[in-house]
Protein backbone atom coordinates (compact mmCIF):
# COMPACT_ATOMS: atom_id res chain seq x y z
CA UNK A 1 0.00 0.00 0.00
CA UNK A 2 1.24 3.52 -0.72
CA UNK A 3 2.40 5.67 2.16
CA UNK A 4 1.51 9.17 0.96
CA UNK A 5 -0.77 11.04 -1.44
CA UNK A 6 2.28 11.82 -3.56
CA UNK A 7 2.84 8.08 -4.00
CA UNK A 8 -0.68 7.89 -5.50
CA UNK A 9 0.00 10.92 -7.72
CA UNK A 10 3.16 9.25 -9.06
CA UNK A 11 1.46 5.92 -9.67
CA UNK A 12 -1.72 7.25 -11.31
CA UNK A 13 0.07 9.78 -13.52
CA UNK A 14 2.39 7.04 -14.69
CA UNK A 15 -0.69 5.23 -16.05
CA UNK A 16 -1.24 8.25 -18.32
CA UNK A 17 2.37 8.12 -19.55
CA UNK A 18 1.99 4.40 -20.22
CA UNK A 19 -1.29 5.07 -22.07
CA UNK A 20 0.79 7.00 -24.64
CA UNK A 21 -0.72 10.37 -23.74
CA UNK A 22 0.99 13.36 -25.36
CA UNK A 23 -0.66 15.79 -22.97
CA UNK A 24 -1.17 15.21 -19.26
CA UNK A 25 -2.49 17.63 -16.66
CA UNK A 26 -2.15 17.02 -12.96
CA UNK A 27 -4.19 19.44 -10.85
CA UNK A 28 -3.82 19.43 -7.07
CA UNK A 29 -6.10 21.72 -5.12
CA UNK A 30 -6.07 22.03 -1.36
CA UNK A 31 -8.03 24.24 1.01
CA UNK A 32 -6.90 22.90 4.37
CA UNK A 33 -9.81 20.46 4.62
CA UNK A 34 -9.92 18.58 1.34
CA UNK A 35 -7.43 17.65 -1.34
CA UNK A 36 -8.66 17.25 -4.89
CA UNK A 37 -6.45 15.47 -7.38
CA UNK A 38 -7.35 15.54 -11.08
CA UNK A 39 -5.23 13.64 -13.58
CA UNK A 40 -6.43 14.21 -17.15
CA UNK A 41 -4.78 12.84 -20.27
CA UNK A 42 -5.34 12.41 -23.99
CA UNK A 43 -4.08 8.81 -23.97
CA UNK A 44 -5.74 5.79 -25.44
CA UNK A 45 -8.61 5.77 -22.93
CA UNK A 46 -10.76 2.84 -21.80
CA UNK A 47 -14.15 1.51 -22.78
CA UNK A 48 -16.83 0.83 -20.15
CA UNK A 49 -15.76 -2.75 -19.68
CA UNK A 50 -12.07 -1.88 -19.25
CA UNK A 51 -12.99 0.95 -16.89
CA UNK A 52 -15.01 -1.39 -14.66
CA UNK A 53 -12.07 -3.79 -14.60
CA UNK A 54 -9.61 -1.02 -13.68
CA UNK A 55 -11.06 -1.14 -10.16
CA UNK A 56 -10.38 -4.87 -9.94
CA UNK A 57 -7.01 -5.56 -8.30
CA UNK A 58 -6.71 -8.88 -10.12
CA UNK A 59 -6.87 -7.25 -13.53
CA UNK A 60 -4.16 -5.55 -15.53
CA UNK A 61 -4.35 -4.53 -19.14
CA UNK A 62 -3.07 -7.36 -21.30
CA UNK A 63 0.56 -6.94 -22.29
CA UNK A 64 1.18 -4.09 -19.83
CA UNK A 65 3.29 -6.24 -17.52
CA UNK A 66 5.39 -9.19 -18.59
CA UNK A 67 5.28 -11.22 -15.45
CA UNK A 68 2.06 -10.50 -13.65
CA UNK A 69 -1.61 -9.96 -14.10
CA UNK A 70 -2.53 -7.76 -11.16
CA UNK A 71 -2.99 -4.00 -11.35
CA UNK A 72 -3.10 -2.31 -7.96
CA UNK A 73 -2.74 1.42 -8.67
CA UNK A 74 -6.42 2.36 -8.94
CA UNK A 75 -7.67 -0.17 -6.34
CA UNK A 76 -5.12 1.25 -3.84
CA UNK A 77 -6.32 4.78 -4.57
CA UNK A 78 -9.99 3.79 -4.22
CA UNK A 79 -9.30 2.18 -0.86
CA UNK A 80 -7.36 5.23 0.37
CA UNK A 81 -9.96 7.86 -0.65
CA UNK A 82 -12.81 5.79 0.74
CA UNK A 83 -10.97 5.43 4.06
CA UNK A 84 -11.13 9.23 4.35
CA UNK A 85 -14.82 9.29 3.27
CA UNK A 86 -13.75 10.96 0.04
CA UNK A 87 -14.57 9.96 -3.53
CA UNK A 88 -13.04 8.67 -6.74
CA UNK A 89 -14.46 9.16 -10.25
CA UNK A 90 -13.01 8.14 -13.56
CA UNK A 91 -14.31 9.19 -16.96
CA UNK A 92 -12.74 7.69 -20.01
CA UNK A 93 -13.33 7.40 -23.70
CA UNK A 94 -11.40 5.10 -26.04
CA UNK A 95 -9.13 7.13 -28.30
CA UNK A 96 -9.81 10.39 -26.44
CA UNK A 97 -8.35 10.00 -22.97
CA UNK A 98 -9.09 9.62 -19.30
CA UNK A 99 -9.91 11.98 -16.46
CA UNK A 100 -9.53 10.79 -12.89
CA UNK A 101 -10.79 12.84 -9.97
CA UNK A 102 -9.93 11.81 -6.42
CA UNK A 103 -11.07 13.73 -3.38
CA UNK A 104 -9.45 13.11 0.00
CA UNK A 105 -10.95 14.51 3.20
CA UNK A 106 -7.72 15.61 4.83
CA UNK A 107 -9.02 16.13 8.36
CA UNK A 108 -10.18 12.54 8.47
CA UNK A 109 -8.14 10.43 10.87
CA UNK A 110 -7.28 8.00 8.05
CA UNK A 111 -6.03 10.62 5.57
CA UNK A 112 -2.53 9.73 4.35
CA UNK A 113 0.23 12.33 4.71
CA UNK A 114 0.70 14.54 1.64
CA UNK A 115 4.32 13.50 0.97
CA UNK A 116 7.06 15.22 -0.98
CA UNK A 117 5.54 16.95 -4.01
CA UNK A 118 8.73 18.48 -5.55
CA UNK A 119 10.47 15.12 -5.69
CA UNK A 120 7.32 13.39 -6.98
CA UNK A 121 6.89 15.93 -9.76
CA UNK A 122 10.54 15.70 -10.84
CA UNK A 123 10.26 11.94 -10.80
CA UNK A 124 7.28 12.17 -13.17
CA UNK A 125 8.86 14.84 -15.37
CA UNK A 126 11.91 12.63 -15.90
CA UNK A 127 10.07 9.61 -17.24
CA UNK A 128 11.31 8.85 -20.73
CA UNK A 129 9.15 9.78 -23.71
CA UNK A 130 7.79 12.73 -25.64
CA UNK A 131 4.90 14.14 -23.65
CA UNK A 132 3.79 17.39 -22.09
CA UNK A 133 3.02 17.27 -18.40
CA UNK A 134 1.60 20.27 -16.57
CA UNK A 135 1.27 20.53 -12.83
CA UNK A 136 -1.49 22.93 -11.75
CA UNK A 137 -1.18 23.48 -8.04
CA UNK A 138 -3.41 25.68 -5.97
CA UNK A 139 -4.00 26.30 -2.30
CA UNK A 140 -6.85 28.60 -1.32
CA UNK A 141 -6.31 31.76 -3.46
CA UNK A 142 -2.71 31.06 -4.45
CA UNK A 143 -1.62 28.99 -7.44
CA UNK A 144 1.29 28.06 -9.67
CA UNK A 145 1.82 25.99 -12.82
CA UNK A 146 4.88 24.03 -13.90
CA UNK A 147 5.17 22.43 -17.32
CA UNK A 148 7.63 19.81 -18.50
CA UNK A 149 8.48 21.81 -21.64
CA UNK A 150 9.43 24.88 -19.54
CA UNK A 151 11.64 22.75 -17.31
CA UNK A 152 13.35 21.15 -20.32
CA UNK A 153 13.85 24.62 -21.79
CA UNK A 154 15.53 25.82 -18.59
CA UNK A 155 17.42 22.68 -17.60
CA UNK A 156 17.92 20.60 -20.72
CA UNK A 157 17.04 16.92 -20.79
CA UNK A 158 15.66 15.97 -17.42
CA UNK A 159 17.76 12.91 -16.78
CA UNK A 160 20.95 13.90 -15.03
CA UNK A 161 21.09 14.27 -11.28
CA UNK A 162 22.00 17.99 -11.46
CA UNK A 163 18.92 18.92 -13.52
CA UNK A 164 16.61 16.86 -11.33
CA UNK A 165 17.98 18.45 -8.15
CA UNK A 166 17.61 21.98 -9.57
CA UNK A 167 14.06 21.21 -10.73
CA UNK A 168 13.24 19.98 -7.26
CA UNK A 169 14.59 23.20 -5.72
CA UNK A 170 12.46 25.22 -8.14
CA UNK A 171 9.24 23.43 -7.23
CA UNK A 172 10.12 23.59 -3.52
CA UNK A 173 10.40 27.38 -3.83
CA UNK A 174 7.00 27.60 -5.56
CA UNK A 175 5.42 25.32 -2.98
CA UNK A 176 6.88 27.39 -0.11
CA UNK A 177 5.54 30.56 -1.71
CA UNK A 178 2.06 29.02 -1.82
CA UNK A 179 1.98 28.77 1.95
CA UNK A 180 3.85 32.00 2.84
Amino acid sequence: MHASICDFILDITQNSIEANASNIEVAITTDGETLELIVADNGKGMNEQQLAKAFDPFYSEEGKHNHRKVGLGIPFLKQAVEATEGSLDINSEPGKGTKLTARFIMNNFDAPPFGNLPSTVMSLMSFPGEFELTLKRSHKDEAYNVSRSDLIDALGELCDAESLSLGKQYIESLENELFS
Partner: protein, 132 residues
Amino acid sequence: MAKLTLDDLKKLREQKKKELSRRDTESAKAQIIIGMGTCGIAAGAKETFEAILEELDKHNVSGVIVKQTGCMGLCYSEPSVEVVMADVPNTIYGNVSAEVGRQIVTEHIMQGKMISEHVFDKPAADIMKEGE
Protein backbone atom coordinates in the same frame (compact mmCIF):
# COMPACT_ATOMS: atom_id res chain seq x y z
CA MET B 1 13.96 30.07 0.19
CA ALA B 2 13.01 32.91 -2.15
CA LYS B 3 10.69 32.08 -5.03
CA LEU B 4 12.69 30.98 -8.06
CA THR B 5 11.72 31.87 -11.62
CA LEU B 6 12.46 29.90 -14.79
CA ASP B 7 15.18 32.46 -15.59
CA ASP B 8 16.79 31.85 -12.18
CA LEU B 9 16.64 28.17 -12.94
CA LYS B 10 18.41 28.64 -16.29
CA LYS B 11 21.14 30.70 -14.58
CA LEU B 12 21.60 28.10 -11.85
CA ARG B 13 21.92 25.40 -14.50
CA GLU B 14 24.58 27.38 -16.39
CA GLN B 15 26.43 28.06 -13.15
CA LYS B 16 26.39 24.37 -12.27
CA LYS B 17 27.70 23.45 -15.74
CA LYS B 18 30.58 25.92 -15.36
CA GLU B 19 31.44 24.59 -11.89
CA LEU B 20 31.53 21.05 -13.22
CA SER B 21 33.78 21.90 -16.15
CA ARG B 22 36.12 23.89 -13.84
CA ARG B 23 36.41 21.01 -11.41
CA ASP B 24 37.68 18.88 -14.29
CA THR B 25 36.43 15.68 -12.69
CA GLU B 26 36.08 12.65 -14.86
CA SER B 27 32.40 12.08 -15.36
CA ALA B 28 31.14 8.72 -14.18
CA LYS B 29 29.16 8.00 -17.35
CA ALA B 30 26.79 5.68 -15.61
CA GLN B 31 23.08 5.03 -15.74
CA ILE B 32 20.94 4.30 -12.71
CA ILE B 33 17.49 2.95 -13.54
CA ILE B 34 14.91 2.81 -10.78
CA GLY B 35 11.79 0.63 -10.97
CA MET B 36 8.89 2.95 -10.24
CA GLY B 37 5.85 0.74 -10.80
CA THR B 38 3.05 0.40 -8.21
CA CYS B 39 5.12 -2.31 -6.49
CA GLY B 40 8.24 -0.15 -6.39
CA ILE B 41 6.39 2.91 -5.10
CA ALA B 42 4.67 0.85 -2.38
CA ALA B 43 8.05 -0.54 -1.32
CA GLY B 44 9.63 2.95 -1.07
CA ALA B 45 11.25 3.47 -4.51
CA LYS B 46 10.52 7.20 -4.29
CA GLU B 47 12.62 7.50 -1.14
CA THR B 48 15.36 5.52 -2.90
CA PHE B 49 15.18 7.90 -5.89
CA GLU B 50 15.50 10.92 -3.57
CA ALA B 51 18.40 9.36 -1.65
CA ILE B 52 20.31 8.57 -4.87
CA LEU B 53 19.86 12.14 -6.14
CA GLU B 54 20.94 13.61 -2.80
CA GLU B 55 24.02 11.39 -2.61
CA LEU B 56 25.09 12.21 -6.18
CA ASP B 57 24.67 15.89 -5.36
CA LYS B 58 26.51 15.58 -2.04
CA HIS B 59 29.56 13.98 -3.65
CA ASN B 60 29.41 16.19 -6.77
CA VAL B 61 29.29 13.16 -9.05
CA SER B 62 28.58 14.32 -12.59
CA GLY B 63 27.64 12.43 -15.73
CA VAL B 64 25.19 10.05 -14.08
CA ILE B 65 21.90 9.58 -15.86
CA VAL B 66 19.04 8.76 -13.50
CA LYS B 67 16.14 7.07 -15.24
CA GLN B 68 12.93 5.50 -14.13
CA THR B 69 10.98 2.65 -15.49
CA GLY B 70 7.74 0.88 -14.68
CA CYS B 71 7.53 -2.54 -13.08
CA MET B 72 10.59 -4.67 -13.92
CA GLY B 73 8.71 -7.86 -13.03
CA LEU B 74 10.64 -8.22 -9.76
CA CYS B 75 7.81 -7.10 -7.48
CA TYR B 76 9.01 -9.30 -4.61
CA SER B 77 12.41 -7.58 -4.43
CA GLU B 78 11.34 -3.97 -4.82
CA PRO B 79 12.64 -1.33 -4.78
CA SER B 80 14.85 -2.57 -7.59
CA VAL B 81 17.59 -0.56 -9.23
CA GLU B 82 19.68 -1.36 -12.31
CA VAL B 83 23.13 0.17 -12.70
CA VAL B 84 24.87 0.29 -16.07
CA MET B 85 28.44 1.57 -16.26
CA ALA B 86 31.73 0.81 -17.94
CA ASP B 87 34.05 -1.83 -16.43
CA VAL B 88 31.38 -3.25 -14.10
CA PRO B 89 28.84 -5.86 -15.23
CA ASN B 90 25.29 -4.55 -15.63
CA THR B 91 23.77 -5.10 -12.23
CA ILE B 92 20.23 -5.30 -10.89
CA TYR B 93 19.96 -4.66 -7.18
CA GLY B 94 16.94 -5.76 -5.13
CA ASN B 95 15.51 -4.45 -1.84
CA VAL B 96 17.19 -1.10 -2.37
CA SER B 97 16.23 1.03 0.62
CA ALA B 98 17.27 4.70 0.71
CA GLU B 99 20.40 3.62 2.62
CA VAL B 100 21.34 1.01 0.01
CA GLY B 101 20.64 3.62 -2.69
CA ARG B 102 23.27 5.86 -1.08
CA GLN B 103 25.66 2.90 -0.94
CA ILE B 104 25.13 2.31 -4.68
CA VAL B 105 26.37 5.86 -5.29
CA THR B 106 29.36 5.73 -2.98
CA GLU B 107 30.49 2.16 -3.74
CA HIS B 108 29.24 1.09 -7.16
CA ILE B 109 29.28 4.43 -8.97
CA MET B 110 32.22 6.09 -7.22
CA GLN B 111 34.47 3.05 -6.63
CA GLY B 112 33.21 0.50 -9.17
CA LYS B 113 32.50 -2.01 -6.37
CA MET B 114 29.33 -4.08 -6.47
CA ILE B 115 27.29 -4.48 -3.28
CA SER B 116 27.10 -8.26 -3.19
CA GLU B 117 24.34 -8.71 -0.61
CA HIS B 118 21.88 -6.67 -2.69
CA VAL B 119 22.66 -8.05 -6.14
CA PHE B 120 19.46 -9.58 -7.42
CA ASP B 121 20.18 -12.99 -8.78
CA LYS B 122 18.92 -16.53 -8.89
CA PRO B 123 21.03 -19.69 -8.75
CA ALA B 124 22.54 -20.67 -12.09
CA ALA B 125 20.59 -23.40 -13.88
CA ASP B 126 23.41 -25.93 -13.52
CA ILE B 127 23.45 -25.79 -9.72
CA MET B 128 19.70 -25.92 -9.22
CA LYS B 129 18.17 -29.30 -8.33
CA GLU B 130 15.45 -30.57 -10.57
CA GLY B 131 12.02 -29.43 -9.47
CA GLU B 132 13.28 -26.22 -7.82
